[in-house]
């Protein structure tokens, strides 16, 4: 498998090509398949193996089941506040107001939601939720299928795509975007993992739905496949990434294993304790306590550990206490957590607390898009749509999460914006949208990376370089950050760059070659890590998940804005936050307390 060029690879034509078979990708494809457009989903794993499957607690949406007076505007207020005011208010408004329709559609498709006594969808309390714009106490707004909501959602979407006859290119890996002379995106270069066959997948619309990249960190709740492949492709093509310093550390990853323990545990009444048995969140967030924003809870936990009140032999974690909820509640509401906890922490939550520690969980940043999923770049400070390129879900930064995502908002983001992009692309293609054909040179350029890797005779081992990268990110870009450490981190990444460009592919086989896939994934991880490092170093303030102990205050005068990382010259620019929702008054920035 060497020396691929435009004349020796196959071209397969589609109207719309979705890269990624998780929640957002399959919600887009469902909309497009129903419209009769020639749509394909390319996924490096069989779709139900995508990371959406690991989402547990639920999908947050004002469907007025728990509280008939609930209001999507309250959800919007919570989300704006949660974002530490750099979430785009037009996008948040769209998500919160369209949300109920999108959730009811999922139910009609068959999603097995848990139910209330009156037969409606069961909703549980989650962090950062309030009634009446923060004045009416804790809300219960997260729609749940026990603690397996992501699994139920992903399978339901796959099932409905089967029903609508979506084309799936399963176990195909997308390598790079193909750009024509106008810098429009015309599809991707990809190969079949099973056979090694390489093809140019030509499309009028290419949707990056490739999820997050939590694997840039050594410790993460993310699946092994979360390697930022779409973002890596976009960055290599010279397109910007927004708010990349904003990484969410989930308060409750299982100590040692990293597996997620849903915030729903605290929603159902569980709480965190330190080595003294103290419910310490009462000190940090007197009102919301354990249901404060995730960034707030994660930092509080780290402070407890730093101050010597951590649990265990090394005093390096805290405990999540659930036993007081009783076996019946745990069996009914949190069966998956009980299973995970027994397997990975050797603890039965019915009797003992679960050892937990803040763990990298979610990428708030990504390819900047508008509410239709259209990706854009900037020229002289002005947003310019990238013809042919779309992005949805965790890969995108629309931005509804700003500097900190609220629990349960990621699944809502997936279905609302997956659906919106699908609807927009239908209209766009039917009205003649699309892009001119690329030249053979354009196609060859996008084959360079694959050809170079295939022809490597020596170089660096994938597994070693990956470990090195993950250690750098873990050590210098964690929950708390400091300029001098981050400078060291950026320097280390500069050294790793040379290795990334010279990886050794030991296995040259065409048959299910996972060595090749892992090498290409590592190069994507690196692009994401570098964008993260530079963005973090160059935002001199603390906001949401980005906490700097050398700049502990929020700086609204200078940084009430998105950061926009330009991969071409590795510089960080600024981009305005949208404060112009259409149906309500904008929520102005306030001091953020819980």
């Amino acid at each position: 498998m060497d020396g691929f060029n435009s004349s020796n690879i196959k071209v397969i034509n589609f109207d719309a090509l979705i890269v990624g078979g998780g929640g957002s990708g399959m919600r887009s494809s469902l909309e497009l398949a129903k419209s009769g457009l020639n749509t394909a989903v390319i996924s490096k794993v069989f779709p139900t193996r995508s990371h959406t499957v690991s989402a547990q607690g639920g999908i947050t949406c004002a469907i007025q089941s728990d509280d008939p007076n609930d209001d999507w505007r309250w959800h919007m207020y919570d989300t704006v506040k949660g974002s530490d005011y750099i979430g785009d208010q037009d996008a948040i408004e769209y998500m919160c107001s369209e949300g109920p329709k999108a959730v009811f559609e999922l139910e009609h498709m068959g999603l097995p939601f848990s139910r209330t006594a009156s037969g409606r969808i069961y909703q549980r309390p989650f962090g950062g939720q309030s009634k009446d714009y923060g004045k009416g106490g804790q809300a219960a707004r997260t729609c749940a299928a026990a603690d397996r909501t992501g699994h139920a959602l992903l399978h339901t979407l796959y099932q409905n795509n089967v029903k609508e006859g979506t084309n799936f290119l399963n176990e195909w890996f997308a390598v790079d975007l193909v750009l024509n002379s106008n810098n429009s995106v015309c599809g991707v270069i990809a190969f079949s993992i099973e056979t090694g066959e390489v093809a140019f997948l030509r499309a009028q619309a290419t949707v990056l739905a490739t999820g997050g990249a939590g694997r840039i960190y050594a410790s993460t709740t993310n699946a092994l496949i979360n390697t930022g492949d779409g973002l890596g492709m976009a960055l290599r093509a010279g397109f910007p990434a927004q708010d990349m310093e904003m990484w969410q550390f989930h308060p409750t990853g299982i100590y040692g294993a990293g597996s997620l323990v849903t915030e729903g545990c605290r929603g159902e009444g569980g709480y965190l304790i330190n080595s003294e048995g103290e419910r310490f969140m009462e000190r940090y967030a007197p009102t919301a306590k354990d249901l404060a924003g995730r960034d707030v809870v994660a930092r509080s936990m780290v402070l407890e550990i730093i101050e010597g009140r951590g649990c265990g032999e090394n005093k390096d974690h805290v405990f999540l206490k659930l036993d007081h909820l009783g076996k019946d509640v745990l069996d009914a509401k949190l069966p998956g957590i009980c299973e995970l906890s027994k397997t990975f922490a050797h603890v039965d939550p019915v009797y003992e607390p679960i050892p937990v520690v803040p763990t990298c969980h979610y990428m708030m940043g990504g390819t900047p898009t508008n509410i239709h999923g259209q990706a854009f770049t900037q020229k002289e400070g002005v947003d310019r749509i990238i013809q042919g390129l779309f992005s949805v879900g965790e890969a995108a930064c629309v931005s509804v999460h700003g500097a900190n995502r609220l629990g349960g908002n990621s699944l809502l983001d997936l279905v609302v914006f997956g659906r919106a992009a699908g609807k927009f692309i239908q209209e766009d293609i039917k009205s003649g949208g699309g892009c001119d054909d690329p030249s053979s040179d354009d196609i060859d350029r996008s084959l360079t990376r694959l050809n170079k890797l295939n022809s490597s005779n020596s170089g660096y081992e994938v597994a070693e370089v990956k470990k090195e990268l993950q250690e750098v990110m873990q050590n210098y870009f964690g929950v708390f950050r400091r300029g001098e450490f981050m400078e060291k981190g950026v320097q280390s990444l500069n050294n790793i760059r040379e290795k990334i460009d010279n990886l050794y592919l030991k296995d040259k086989s065409n048959s299910f070659n996972t060595n090749r896939v892992e090498a290409l994934e590592l190069q994507n991880l690196f692009e994401v890590a570098e964008a993260t490092a530079i963005s973090a170093l160059e935002r001199p303030e603390s906001r949401g998940a980005h906490a700097r102990d050398d700049f502990p205050e929020r700086d609204d005068a200078n940084w009430l804005c998105h950061s926009l990382y330009n991969p071409v010259n590795k510089s960080l620019g600024k981009r305005g936050v949208n404060f112009k929702p259409l149906q309500v008054e904008a929520f102005p920035p306030k001091i953020r307390t819980y």
Partner: protein, 247 residues
């Protein structure tokens, strides 16, 4: 202690036949999962091929045959499966091998698609969700949680024998998941589609599916429910027996 790990290797490009390759590995201090062990071996030999994704037992990628029993590598601790210091890892049985521990799942997925694994309801949906009582929703527990790992179907001798005609435990579990769903209106049609001699009746209650399911589900029970519904159905269509009067 040195572990002796035997891994099934096959690459159609280079190997005429599959073979078992032995790796020696120092037993780790703590009890690790089989997947972690494989990941460590792959650092030494990057040519070993297997599927993996979530590494926590919810995505169903890494089903394989571990010391003779199907299971998910990511939630199977070494302490549970080692025989002395030995561990044999083979691909799921009964499906064609693509490479090493990777099998071709096409037949398995084809059976899944055959049962129409999506909710069908002929009425127009309401503005909000369709209502369902908690009791009716409870009927889906033990069914909807399937992760399509194929551990059950590939441990089933009936599936080995007729993978094209016997639907297999995984897909039958899903067939019953939709039959049991009060929101689905195509129960009759779903039962009719399973009423031939092969689709469901090739299940002989061997119960391997139950003993290997990594999620603790019971396909055999679901199959039993389908069979009894089919029986009731057929009883309905039989003419009632008349008592012949004595002359």
């Amino acid at each position: 202690m040195q572990l002796e790990i035997n891994i099934y290797r096959y690459n159609s490009e280079t190997d005429a036949f599959p073979y078992m390759q032995t790796f020696h590995f120092n037993k780790p201090d703590r009890d690790i999962m089989v997947l972690e062990l494989l990941n460590l071996l792959k650092e030494q030999d990057p040519t070993i091929s297997y599927r993996r994704s979530c590494r926590e037992g919810v995505c169903g990628s890494d089903g394989m045959n571990i010391n003779g029993k199907n299971g998910l590598a990511c939630i199977t601790p070494l302490s549970e499966v080692l025989k002395g210091n030995k561990l044999d890892l083979r691909p799921l049985p009964g499906l064609p091998v693509i490479r090493d521990l990777v099998v071709d799942m096409e037949e398995f997925y084809a059976q899944y698609e055959k049962i129409k694994p999506f909710l069908q309801n002929d009425s127009t949906p309401p503005e909000i969700e369709r209502l369902q009582s908690p009791e009716d929703r409870d009927k889906l527990d033990g069914l909807y949680e399937c992760i399509l790992c194929a551990c059950c179907s590939t441990s089933c001798p009936s599936f080995w024998w007729n993978p094209d005609k016997f639907v297999g435990p995984a897909a039958l579990l899903q067939a019953y998941r939709f039959i049991a769903d009060t929101r689905d209106t195509r129960t009759e049609e779903r039962l009719d589609a399973l009423s031939d001699p092969f689709s469901v009746y090739r299940c002989h209650g061997i119960m391997n599916c139950v003993s290997v399911c990594p999620k603790g589900l019971n396909p055999n029970k679901a199959i039993g429910s389908i069979k009894s519904m089919l029986l009731k159905d057929s009883a309905k269509s039989v003419e009632p027996i008349r008592v012949i009067e004595q002359a």
